[in-house]
């Protein structure tokens, strides 16, 4: 535990990539395999389950202390992190330290923390306090974060993989592949992960690491004829695997989501073994020439077994854009032009040999006409009318790489929608934005000269603007509701967003997709901000 807490502190204190990789290498090179496996599990952000809620920990900390609940709230608003607040307060209220606990990370993860979580009432409170008493402050913070399942180290998976690659001598891509489909903490699993490469290590369910596109910043190199253009649909990325007479559907978040999409599993069942497709999962009504909005897809996500009604209302389709494996052969090093040709052939053949409705749910992502760069911008302008978020540009010669590697694949989104809205409420952020008002709620004018809450946005301002706005909020607060401040409705912001949906859950009747701040309109008086009517008009023009 000591070593892991030190690693956490080292990662927390270093800002450079190199320093972080060095800290990871130093940790993993000397660590016991079982501890290392748990550390990796946590670093990869896979410690999903919360053992004890932050609220319960806070209760345990405050019991037997003179500190009232409201003071905890004040502290939390200042610190912006529940586990850290408890750690700092425990130093204040905790009865003297007992014998330091010196257990391995494995023992903490497998015994001590689950045991404390399994208890109830005063027994649990005493057990947790007993653990707290035996820990140094840095260990205490890590233990609390492990208990509440919220240990985010701020290290991307790519960095961890880079460190493990350096340590093991394996290729990063190979490690990525071995990590796909989950890593169960255990000494044997870590040893297997870092074992030298050998030929036969395919597990039928294992997906390939996804290759991710980067936002287009300038016109790509070479003539337009070296590139292929497709719509960028607003669904979820999926990898459909047909191997060993089974079918697996993975999301980009490396979760098996087949259960939520039984019709896609049935569709893939029509493919020959040893086929792996990369594509987009969408809700696509039969006969329609475009997919349904994302909100429809959202109704399908997370449903273990969707009912017949939902399946009928929100029918899914898989729009394939790449072929990663055919006949059991890994095609990823072949150029995209070849993979695409093979994909077209595969789906053509399927429609001829198996012309069933099930097989018809595997659709081919259409190629858009792009022979000269002048065509790019007009195409992008048409994205909204095709119910797409924008364009994808892929180099015809590109291999299928792992992770976000720039140069071969670009995403080129259409311009967001915008509305000018008035700042109504502000709340302090968390983490490095603790004690700064950074969570904003904005309103639009209704027909009666009242402002109605419309959207929340947290991002888009730079540090200087955040500081200036924070100062403004503090001196223009009109009312306080706990941590939330109502402010005088004077400041106008241009909000950018991806779309609008009707919603009965929102006061304005509208749900906003991906709202963020585009600009602080200090030039604009609040009276000139947009109205709910203009938002509704925009909603009506959306596909």
């Amino acid at each position: 535990m000591r070593r892991f807490a030190d690693l956490y502190s080292a990662l927390d204190a270093s800002s450079g990539t190199q320093a972080r990789v060095d800290a990871l290498v130093a940790y993993f090179s000397g660590v016991d395999a079982a501890d290392g496996a748990w550390a990796l599990h946590v670093l990869l952000g896979k410690q999903g389950k919360r053992l004890i809620t932050g609220r319960r920990l806070r209760q345990i900390c405050l019991e037997e202390s003179p500190l009232p609940e409201w003071l905890f709230d004040d502290c939390y608003a200042h610190v912006g992190d529940s586990a850290e607040t408890i750690t700092l307060l425990w130093a204040q209220v905790g009865a003297g330290a007992s014998q330091p606990l010196q257990h391995s990370l494995q023992h903490w993860m497998e015994q001590l923390l689950p045991a404390a979580a399994a208890l109830e009432g005063s027994e649990q409170a005493e057990a947790v306090r007993q653990l707290w008493r035996g820990l140094s402050r840095s260990e205490l913070l890590v233990a609390n974060k492990l208990l509440t399942g919220g240990l985010r180290v701020g290290v991307a998976q790519g960095l961890v993989v880079r460190a493990l690659a350096r340590l093991s001598g394996l290729e990063e891509a190979q490690l990525q592949h071995r990590l796909m489909g989950g890593f169960k903490p255990g000494a044997a699993a870590l040893t297997a992960l870092l074992a030298p490469a050998n030929g036969a290590e395919a597990v039928p369910s294992h997906p390939y690491p996804f290759y991710l596109a980067s936002p287009l910043e300038q016109q790509p190199a070479g003539p337009a004829s070296d590139w292929q253009a497709e719509w960028k649909f607003d669904g979820i990325r999926g990898q459909l695997i047909r191997r060993a007479n089974e079918v697996f559907l993975w999301s980009r978040g490396e979760e098996l989501i087949g259960a939520a999409f039984p019709e896609l599993l049935a569709a893939a069942g029509c493919l020959a073994n040893g086929s792996v497709l990369d594509g987009e999962i969408l809700v696509w009504p039969p006969g329609s020439d475009q997919p349904a909005p994302f909100a429809q897809l959202q109704r399908r996500l997370g449903r273990k077994a969707p009912g017949r009604k939902l399946l009928a209302e929100c029918p899914a389709a898989f729009v394939a854009y790449d072929l990663l494996e055919l006949g059991g052969d890994d095609l990823r090093q072949a150029p995209l032009s070849q993979r695409r040709a093979a994909l077209e052939e595969l789906l053509q053949e399927l429609s001829e040999t198996t012309p069933t409705p099930a097989a018809g749910l595997l659709r081919l992502s259409p190629l858009l006409p792009l022979t000269a760069w002048e065509q790019l911008e007009p195409l992008r302008q048409q994205a909204a009318s095709a119910a797409a978020e924008g364009l994808m540009l892929k180099g015809l010669a590109s291999p299928y790489l792992a992770g976000r590697k720039r140069g071969h694949w670009w995403k080129h989104k259409r311009d967001p929608y915008t509305l000018d809205a008035v700042l109504l409420y502000a709340q302090a952020g968390s983490g490095r934005r603790a004690n700064l008002f950074t969570d904003y709620t904005f309103g639009l004018w209704d027909g009666e000269g009242q402002l109605v809450s419309f959207a929340k946005a947290y991002s888009g301002l730079d540090d200087a603007e955040i500081t200036a706005l924070d100062r403004w909020i503090r001196s223009h607060t009109s009312e306080r509701f706990g941590p939330v401040r109502a402010v005088q409705p004077l400041q106008v912001f241009e909000l950018a967003f991806e779309g609008l949906q009707r919603s009965s859950r929102h006061k304005s009747g509208i749900a906003v997709r991906f709202p963020r701040i585009a600009r602080w309109r200090q030039d604009k008086p609040a009276a000139e901000a947009d109205s709910l009517a203009s938002a509704l008009a925009l909603l009506a023009t959306q596909p």
Binding site: L67, L71, H78, E84, L88, Q92, A434, N435
Partner: protein, 337 residues
Amino acid sequence: MPLPTGSLLEHTPQGLYCRAAAAWIDPVGPVPRALITHAHADHARPGCGEYWAVGASEAILRQRLGATINLIPVDYGAAHRIGEARVSFHSAGHVLGSAQIRLEAGGESWLVSGDYKRCADPSCSPFEPVQADVFITEATFGLPIYRWQSGAEVAGEILSWWQGAPERPSILFAYAFGKAQRLLAELAAIGVGEPGQPGAEGNEILLHGAVEALMPAYREAGVRLPPTLPVSAIAKGESLAGRLVIAPPSAHRSVWMKRFKLPQAAFVSGWMAVRGARRRRGYERGFVMSDHADWPGLIQSVQQSCARQVYVTHGNSDGLARYLSEVEGISAEPLAG
């Protein structure tokens, strides 16, 4: 809330005013007579007709406000009659020459804490508990998440941070007056600067000009300090690897830092207790050392004042006042202005 009318102290646009003494305490602008708690720039401002302050702060006040100011130096604990009031200055333990100011007139006594701290500091005299009917306390760190370690513990952490990077310069950012000298004194107290120890002659701790300017006053006051040199005394091009440097926070990421190759940087402040505060300021490392009272220090001082009424100002004044009245049963109000 404002002070009740007719009180010994009242609010004016220039700050807290005592009618009986015809004097302002730490006025924000020029007034005929100023009683100064300490020489930090937000408490001692130029242009007043007459300054009353503790003798130990005289050199720094003259340096900052002008050599020719009309300053009446006083000793800790000595009572003075100013106008109708009896006024005394008592050690606040904040920085060299810092004071709490006690005023008494018409059968009522008030104590204004100024800035203060309760933990030991080898660079200034310790806080003196004083009783009064009404106590005005600061609350810069008025949340129970703040609880300080001793200066010696923090100095130990700093020493191992510094010694752990012999190939890089180590820059500590700290307020130039008070914190920087306390750091030096805390380091001296654990042996830094003695022959054969880190920071000895030939490997002196280096100071930014703003810190250097305050050193004569501390050396004259007899504070035990390690040997130091201004950074400017080191020849251009000479390696600064392994040297400890102390600079004010304003120098962080300024052109001044160009001089140092691959420095490790840390900020020394009570605010560093919270990770978010450190990350927001962009420091890799923070050392938690403050010249203000922590939560237990604030509560203890309020209790020891035996005041029947407490006013809380600066920082989390609402929260501390509410805690004092709800939990400790002491009549307390946040003080506006």
